[in-house]
Symmetry: C2
Subunit: 197 residues, 2 copies
């Protein structure tokens, strides 16, 4: 096989969710319509590479840099900040179209095993930003995992003296979830946090 094709297959096979077989299939598919599919991929990658960068304020990826279109948007609520672990979480919340405030991307969660400390997550930047901007509310929208909850706890301790209202996402039975298939932890949390009609 040509080394050029082999090299491209290798690059694809290292992408998340792909292996050598699926990478081979993708490269063959691209090569089958070289002039259309492969070239449009090339142009799209070039565009992203030249235009997209991280927002200096929130950490989101956008073509409108150094400040992204969310941070620049005057129609959004600049008094509310939503702290998320990753950009994919920011995108997930944006897709719901039910939040109209600002964001702060940590870039991960605290993890003793992976050696991720408060310094890696820019938590002091977050604290300083909260001091400077005087947010009315900070929502900690981190994962409901051990690391996510540790991070939530750590950030809450730092922000409670500065921000009037620090909240976190509700926990309970997911929409469409059948009780029989739910894990015990979620069921217990949902029972404890039960609400009246």
């Amino acid at each position: 096989m040509a080394p050029e094709i082999d090299h491209l297959i290798k690059i694809f096979s290292f992408l998340p969710g792909l292996g050598e077989r699926s990478a081979r299939r993708i490269v063959l598919h691209l090569l089958s319509q070289k002039q259309t599919k492969m070239e449009s991929l090339l142009i799209a990658v070039q565009q992203v590479l030249s235009k997209v960068d991280k927002c200096r304020l929130c950490g989101n990826l956008d073509a409108s840099v150094p400040i992204c279109s969310i941070c620049k948007n005057h129609n959004r609520d600049h008094q509310c900040l939503c702290v998320v672990e990753n950009i994919s979480d920011l995108w997930a919340i944006e897709r719901t179209k039910s939040y109209n405030g600002m964001y702060f991307v940590l870039g991960g969660a605290l993890s003793a095993i992976d050696g991720v400390g408060p310094g890696e997550l820019r938590i002091n930047v977050l604290t300083q930003q909260c001091k400077d901007n005087g947010y009315a509310e900070v929502i900690l929208a981190l994962s409901s995992t051990l690391n996510g909850q540790t991070t939530t706890h750590y950030i809450r301790e730092h922000l409670t003296p500065i921000v009037p209202k620090v909240t976190e996402l509700a926990r309970g039975v997911p929409i469409g979830g059948e009780l029989d298939y739910l894990d015990d932890g979620t069921l217990i949390t949902a029972l404890i946090a039960r609400s009246g009609f």
Copy 2:
């Protein structure tokens, strides 16, 4: 989300085996290490796009065009031709390192439903090539599907008067296959074609 990112995600999501969620994950992964991963992908795509093309003789994809490195190789057996449906089949046989002849890529199999006739598969080119080159053997290494077998039958009828030896791949129990899990068709074929020790 930036339209550039959105567009790249869309392109990835149309690749075989990928959906919107996996495409998003891949693009975020590429963006997380823009200067290394994304740029190496760009360069690899550029290289393939500028150098790789179809071999004029066998239909294989190679950087050494118009005649690919297999067709050019004088250490290979130019008296033996292996007919395959797709380039991925050619690569699969090459990976085994147990075949040393030439190839001919049909580009698919006859299919009445998909409207693929003998004209689409360059079968007359194959017949002409067999007449001109005087191969000692032609191996029909097509899939063991209905379409593959129809194509095998069709080509065999055309080649038997021209080529001294037309063969097909052996059919039977795959290596490591448990009889209990095998389909009836394979088991019947294996029983009929049983061999002595």
